[in-house]
Structure formats: C-alpha cells, structure tokens
Symmetry: C2
Subunit: 110 residues, 2 copies
Amino acid sequence: MGLAKTEIFTDHQNQIAIFAKAFGHPARVAILQQLFKMDSCYCGSLVDEIGLAQPTISQHLKELRNLGLVKGNVEGTSVCYCIDKDNWTAMKSVMEDFLNQDLPENEDCC
Amino acid sequence: MGLAKTEIFTDHQNQIAIFAKAFGHPARVAILQQLFKMDSCYCGSLVDEIGLAQPTISQHLKELRNLGLVKGNVEGTSVCYCIDKDNWTAMKSVMEDFLNQDLPENEDCC
DNA sequence: TTATTTAATTGCAATATTACAATTAATAAT
DNA sequence: ATTATTAATTGTAATATTGCAATTAAATAA
C-alpha cells in the first residue's frame, strides 16, 4: 500500500528508519556532502553544484530541514544553509549504535 | 517522476543512498536487529516476531539479500537467515565515513 | 502418493517519492 | 514604483514502495 505500518514498530526503530531515509537519495547525500566541505552554502550554489532544478533542490532541503539536520539563514534574497551540528551529532549517535551492533559470536546458520 | 536521477551523482553518493535506503523502513531495521541478537533466525520466526504478513517479510528479506547484507540457508522446508558479516562490515565503513565527515570549523552562516 | 510445512513469487491496490514548470513571496536595486 | 534576484510553494505527471491475498515451489512426513 505504500504506507509503512509504523505503529507496530518501536520509536527507536522508526527513528532509525526516518534518519536513514534522509540519506536514501543521492541528491540529499550530495547536498550534505557539499554543506560539510563548504564555506559558501547558498541554496543557489547547491542548485549549480548538483544538476537538479531549483524546486527539486528546495524540496530536498526542506526534508533535511524538517529533520533538523540542516538549517538555513536568510541573507537578503539568498538563503545560506549549513549543517545543524548538534542535531547531526545526535543523529550520528543513533545511527552508529545501529551500525555497531555486535555481530553474533555463535555459528552462522549460513 | 518518482525516478531518482542517479546518473548525475557519483558512484559513492549512489552507494550511500542505496545502503541508507535499506535502513529506511522500520521493518528492515527490525529484521536486522533481530538477526543481530538471535540464535534462531528462521524466516518464520521473523514473521512471528514482527507483525507483518509472510510475503511482506519475504520481500523485505529479498531486498536485504540483494544488497548482500543478509544471507539465507535452506534447511529442509525452513530458511535460516543471518547477517553477512563481511558485507556488513564493508557497508558500515562506507556509512561511517559519511556520518563522520568533519564538521566545518569556520563560522556557521546560521 | 498424498498431505503438510515453510517460504518465495505473482498480481494488484494504495500510498509515497521524485522531478520540474509555473507561480508566488520576499528582499534588494534602480 | 519598477525591476531583478533568489528561493519557497503549488500543481501535476511519472515512477517507486509497501502490504497482502492467492498461488506456487520445494522439501519433509505420513
């Protein structure tokens, strides 16, 4: 049905899925990488850098903003975007705990 | 269009997005968590543990198998699933590099 | 052989996501 | 006030994802 049954999962499981989904599109990966390495983080330069139309970039930025991973500051007619460091660090901790689960010691069934 | 323009991104960016998408649904998160903590990793117990229909679990398992994160071993009429440790470790390295990008030192624009 | 058990596959309906043209909003410049 | 610039929003088309009933496949048990 295209509709995830989130109610049968724990908040923690849903949390991981929501963050992961943010990275589940290469445009958002590219936006974040650009923000990480950048001094100029204007929305317009992201549009130039990545080859997608302005409304598309704007839409991806909105998702990242809604998650709190990115924040934007209006400067005249431009908007300067950057990583929200505190929220990024918090998200990273959740994701790394998931990635770093201990691999079972016992014999594989496979 | 529902169609990601993967061709305009680097292989690395697409790689991150593909892995992240695997974790972008709570059912797959739950499956993986279960496999991590488990001794019995039969498909049927995943169906019991998680409250989704058998074909739905089977479909999620297929995606994880296609990515190489999980492998299954036929044992009679059952199939025993487990984490593919080598591939998990490789994936983890890619994802952690992404998560651990250095936060810019310079002033935020925000 | 004929059940029985377990899991994969098929087919389909419903919802979500992606992308962009067109438009709007908001500020700055003339 | 008019124009230019930049980015958000709206509307829409196309594709993807999710979920499950029904079926099929494959192995075992009787």
